[in-house]
Amino acid sequence: MTKQVQDAYIVAAVRTPVGKAPRGFFRNTRPDDLLAHTLKGVLSSFPQIDKKRIADVIIGCAMPEAEQGMNVARISLLLAGFPDCVPGVTVNRFCASGLQTVSMAADRIRLGEADIMIAGGTESMSLIPMMGHKVVMNPALFAGNENVGIAYGMGLTAEKVASQWNISREAQDAFAFESHRRAVAATQAGEFKSEILPYTVQESVPDFSQVSTSLKSQVVSVDEGPRADSTMEGLAKLKPVFAARGSVTAGSCSQMSDGAAAVLLMSERAIKEFGVQPIARVVSFAVTGVPPPVMGIGPVEAIPLALKMAGLNQSEIDWIELNEAFAAQSLAVCNVLELDRAKVNPLGGAIALGHPLGATGAIRTATLVHALQRHNKKYGMISMCIGTGMGAAGIFERILMN
């Protein structure tokens, strides 16, 4: 095979609905099962594609242990019935994992070493707690002051961003309220229908009188997070959680969630061979670091880098999926980069839609490529901040349908 630089295209992108953790509809659903469901689903419209030709499956996961441990990518693809020759790899860049995998899959194609790749992400925050089951910090963090910020919880970093970039409590509440309003409207308008694969949740329920169990089934097809009853008054009543005199509340944080997504990428050659219609082109991806105590500001550094690589101006980006880890950091990013608020998360963000850590990047990739098609927009961007102080951004271009 001749090595060359060529374009990588997204042919399909699907996701599960996002459930609330830890007591939502996916509370007992395994993340490997969720992922297997999307791996099957992303190929379901393409019976002509020989699965043996899939060069690799790259899956993002932020807490890759327990139910999502042991290389969840390989396990899930086997559960999905992929042939043994298809390999799988799990990668972790915390909240950017799912976007990172799209970039890594595209790179294999761009390099000419693969023609068909699957990227994706999965995360159950119901089953695997934030930071995992066994947390053991390195004592060296506390030897001096320079690395103590690594120990900061995400909420505390949001407080630091809020005070450093002057983001008021009221602005955060208003941002959160708007996120719910947009998400509820988008859901009602059916905006997510083309990307969501309905999932049949099955739970064993004990019948005490018979000492037997029965399976309770429920089909879920819309995101669980958005609240139609969210109000400014309600949000204003919530107490700060991460600092005694802080401004970040449970209402202005991303929700803990469960979900998975899969993205099918192909080279131009494979697209022609199998006669499929691409929906987007991978344009650029950038990731970089910032001080850990203000990790939320990461996109401020990553977005200009991704734009520069793409050779685009910020004004040329029509649609931005900015992960709402916290209203505070989202607003700081919007303010510093002077992002057009109308373009940022038009369908709501993680405060309403949820944030299943390592899956989010892939989930929002699905949202973005479908939205660009539906709303007839050309360039879209996904960006997020990353724990321990990083930022990532990826740019995509819609491909006009023939």
């Binding site: 910090m137 506390f142 900061y152 919880g153 600092a243 005694a244 005199r245």
Partner: protein, 792 residues
């Protein structure tokens, strides 16, 4: 022990899931009694919806009616339509529906066919005639009917009044009393079937007399509350705040019942709701539940209704200095004499409320109670007074007070001119209570306590003024402790210090007692004749040594603290802590080190050293590290340490003995006893049983699995977040870090096997480091001065 042979209550039904019914059911569940809670079927949704809602509500009540949250899942909900079949399985049915004779009788008709013929049926009414209610019961079952009157909140209020009808089987009553006393831990008073029984009859009268005299002397409600609270040995909510808590509408109802049902009571004309209360009710100010009543809270300010202004004004609660000085006098004789001669209206007010209360009690006693003991205990246990009315009278000098009452009666100064009974003015009368018993108006003599076998479990029941129990034979006695016994081969160690604080003398006493116990006893019980078990270390001694910079002595004392804990652990005979009330700091560490603990339900245990800038160094940290290591069974020790760390870093105090087990201060094998007067008996039984089971103390651990330096860093990460978030101070961080260090075994690799002495040394070192800091010294000083923790 023959306590349980009279009656076996396996399962109880409570009818009515209102405030009282639900809380009574909760307390039954606390006591591991199977309980079915009934109410009307819900109009829509789950038929048991009304009860389910009441059970859910129990979890929100403060103070909690549940000993631990999980108990709420152990009440079975039911309704009168579909659930009646279960009544056949119930040995005891407590009816606690609304106070309406017609509703109650309707319900009896409905459920009577479903009852087990041998069940006990008790109505929890506070005002209605038990006999009349009983007559509404099927004739064949009237012998199974009686009245039982719990006080709100039933978990915390000691009193239960027990009332028979002429038909009630006396054996049934004995059985029920036994159950209430030993299983539920209540103080039972048998009363006559008169309206409001004893406690509410006297309590409500006292309230009306207080209102009458306040109005007569023109005293504000806030001043009255200042004068009728703890300063005269009554509950903190005093008079009008109590009314707000009860609800002004409910108060009105209770007063009306008194007026309607006691037409011949000579004070009847006073049984009426004041006009201003009616006006408040009309304006929707019903008390606490509606946000305003006699008092109103606006932001942080408390406003009080001022009748002259006809509006709320800031509450002042001022007692005149000369009156306050009198009320603080130690000798009650001198106090009442001084009050009588003081011309200040506040003094006259206090004199008047006592005088008319005594007058009422003396005139009423014969008709409502069998003995003065029953009246005094009913008021103490039902209203939270430190002393009953007759006790206060006796303390103030019986004949002196009697002559003043006669004098004022003749002068027409009392609320009524009802003649005072002869027994009260009898020149030979000195006391109402003594070791011979309490005065019985019926016999005119002194009557002893109940001979019901259940009371044999209480060698030292609560005493009344004039009763002087003898506490066995002394083995040795020092300034700090007394070791004694009652001839049954079990040594009892009691602390003599104030609040049973632990100072040097107590430490010496414990060490000496364990060695004496090995010589002459089968077991050693730590027991105090009064709660608390122990409020912790004697801080005054610590401050003194710090002031002299005598850190060598201090470290020796800390070492001795640990030695005392170890003496309890490794004593050759079993050691048992019999605990009720607070067991804090060092007191909690002793509990943790005894072979076993017998704890009253109301046990408030905690390692609270952080409040004074210190950490547990009497073996507490070591003990938690040891327990976590054992509980992990080779697994992740950190998982088990996390709760223990939190206990110590937050100074977490248990809300009950069961909660102390959840927190880990008590072991699951420790025994919870519902009646605090029984803990000594049970502790002795446990000690003797262990001795007879060939007890040997454990070997000193050499294999405590250390969580190590990674775990310390993990805890520090949490502390950093709390400090940066402003939830804890810099000094809290320092204390927390040191607790983490000692608890995790110090700077070692995870999984290192360490000895008990290693941990003890870490504890001591960390304690001494903190003691040398200015901030810790400031915390200790502040606690000694104000009794409250300083956050610095």
């Amino acid at each position: 022990m023959d306590s349980c042979s009279n009656v076996i209550v396996r399962k109880v039904a409570v009818l009515g899931a209102g405030v009282m019914g639900a809380q009574i059911a909760a307390h039954l569940a606390n006591a591991n009694v199977e309980v079915v809670l009934f109410d009307l079927p819900a109009k829509d949704g789950d038929a048991n919806g009304v009860v389910l809602k009441a059970i859910a509500n129990l979890q929100k009540l403060e103070p909690s009616p549940l000993s631990v949250k999980s108990k709420s899942g152990y009440m079975t909900p039911a309704n009168y339509e579909t659930g009646l079949a279960v009544l056949k399985e119930c040995d005891l049915v407590i009816e606690a529906i609304a106070e309406r004779m017609d509703w109650k009788l309707d319900l009896y008709n409905k459920i009577a066919p479903h009852l087990h013929p041998q069940c006990i049926f008790a109505t929890n009414t506070s005002g209605l005639s038990i006999e009349k209610l009983g007559n509404g019961f099927p004739e064949a079952m009237r012998s199974r009917f009686c009245g039982v009157h719990f006080f709100n909140p039933p978990r915390y209020m000691t009193l239960v009044e027990l009332i028979a009808t002429p038909n009630t089987d006396p054996k049934l009553l004995d059985g029920l009393e036994t159950f209430l006393v030993t299983v539920l831990g209540k103080g039972v008073v048998r009363t006559k079937d008169t309206p409001n029984f004893i406690a509410n009859r006297i309590g409500v009268f006292s309230l009306l007399a207080t209102i009458y005299h306040a109005e007569r002397l023109g005293l504000g409600f806030d001043v009255v509350d200042a004068l009728t609270g703890p300063i005269i040995g009554r509950a903190k909510s005093a008079t009008f705040r109590t009314m707000d808590v009860v609800g002004l509408d409910t108060m009105t109802h209770v007063i009306k019942t008194m007026a309607d049902t006691l037409p011949n009571d000579l004070w009847n004309k006073y049984f009426k709701t004041p006009v201003w209360v009616e006006e408040l009710i009309k304006n929707g100010a019903l008390g606490q539940k509606s946000g305003a009543g006699v008092y109103r809270k606006v932001g942080k300010d408390i406003l009080v209704m001022d009748l002259a202004l006809r509006n709320y004004r800031p509450s002042a609660q001022e007692i005149a200095p000369e009156v306050e000085a009198i009320l603080k006098m130690k000798d009650p004789r001198e106090k009442f004499a001084a009050l009588r001669t003081c011309s200040h209206p506040q003094a006259e007010f206090v004199c008047s409320i006592f005088r008319d209360l005594w007058h009422y009690c003396a005139v009423t006693l014969d008709s409502i109670a069998n003995t003065a003991r029953d009246l005094d205990f009913a008021v103490r246990w039902g209203y939270g007074w430190a002393m009953g009315p007759f006790e206060v009278w006796q303390a103030a000098g019986w004949s002196q007070i009697a002559s003043w009452i006669s004098e004022d009666l003749a002068a027409g100064k009392l609320m009524t001119n009802a003649p005072i009974p002869n027994w009260a003015t009898d020149k030979n009368r000195k006391v109402m209570h003594s070791n011979e018993g309490s005065f019985s108006p019926k016999t005119g003599g002194m009557q002893g306590r109940s001979t019901l076998p259940v009371y044999k479990r209480q060698p030292y029941p609560e005493t009344l003024l004039g009763e002087k129990p003898t506490y066995g034979e002394t083995v040795f006695e020092t300034d700090g402790v007394r070791l004694w016994h009652t001839g049954d081969e079990i040594g009892i160690l009691s602390f003599k210090s104030k609040m049973h604080a632990v100072g040097n003398e107590v430490l010496d006493g414990i060490i000496r007692a364990t060695s004496e116990a090995e010589k002459q006893f089968k077991g050693l019980v730590l027991w105090q004749s009064e709660p608390p078990f122990s409020a912790g270390a004697n801080l005054a001694q610590v401050t003194q040594a710090v002031a002299q910079k005598d850190f060598v002595t201090l470290e020796a004392t800390v070492a001795k603290f640990q030695q005392a804990s170890l003496a309890l652990r490794y004593c050759m005979v079993p050691t048992v802590a019999a605990v009720q009330g607070m067991a804090l700091g060092g007191g909690c560490e002793f509990v943790m080190h005894c072979t076993k603990t017998v704890a009253a339900l109301e046990t408030y245990a905690g390692l609270v050293e952080v409040g004074v800038g210190l950490l547990p160094a009497g073996g507490g940290i070591k003990e938690f590290a040891l327990r976590a290591s054992r509980e992990a069974k080779g697994g992740n020790t950190f998982h088990f340490l996390a709760q223990y760390f939190q206990n110590m870093a937050m100074g977490q105090v248990s809300r009950s003995a069961e909660n102390a087990k959840e927190l880990g201060y008590l072991k699951h094998s420790d025994v919870v006893v519902f009646n605090p007067n029984e803990i000594l008996t049970v502790a002795k039984t446990e000690a003797r049983a262990m001795c007879e089971a060939a007890y040997r103390p454990p070997l000193r651990p050499r294999d405590i699995l250390a969580a190590g330096k990674g775990a310390i860093a993990t805890i520090k990460a949490q502390l950093v977040n709390m400090k940066e978030g402003g939830f804890i101070s810099e000094h809290d961080f320092e204390i927390g870090s040191r607790i983490a260090f000692a608890l995790c075994g110090g700077d070692v690799e995870a999984g290192t096997l360490l000895t008990e002495d290693w941990y003890l040394a870490l504890e001591r070192r960390a304690f001494m480091e903190l003691l040398r800091t200015e901030k810790t010294q400031a915390r200790i000083e502040h606690m000694l001065k104000t009794g409250k923790p300083l956050r610095n």
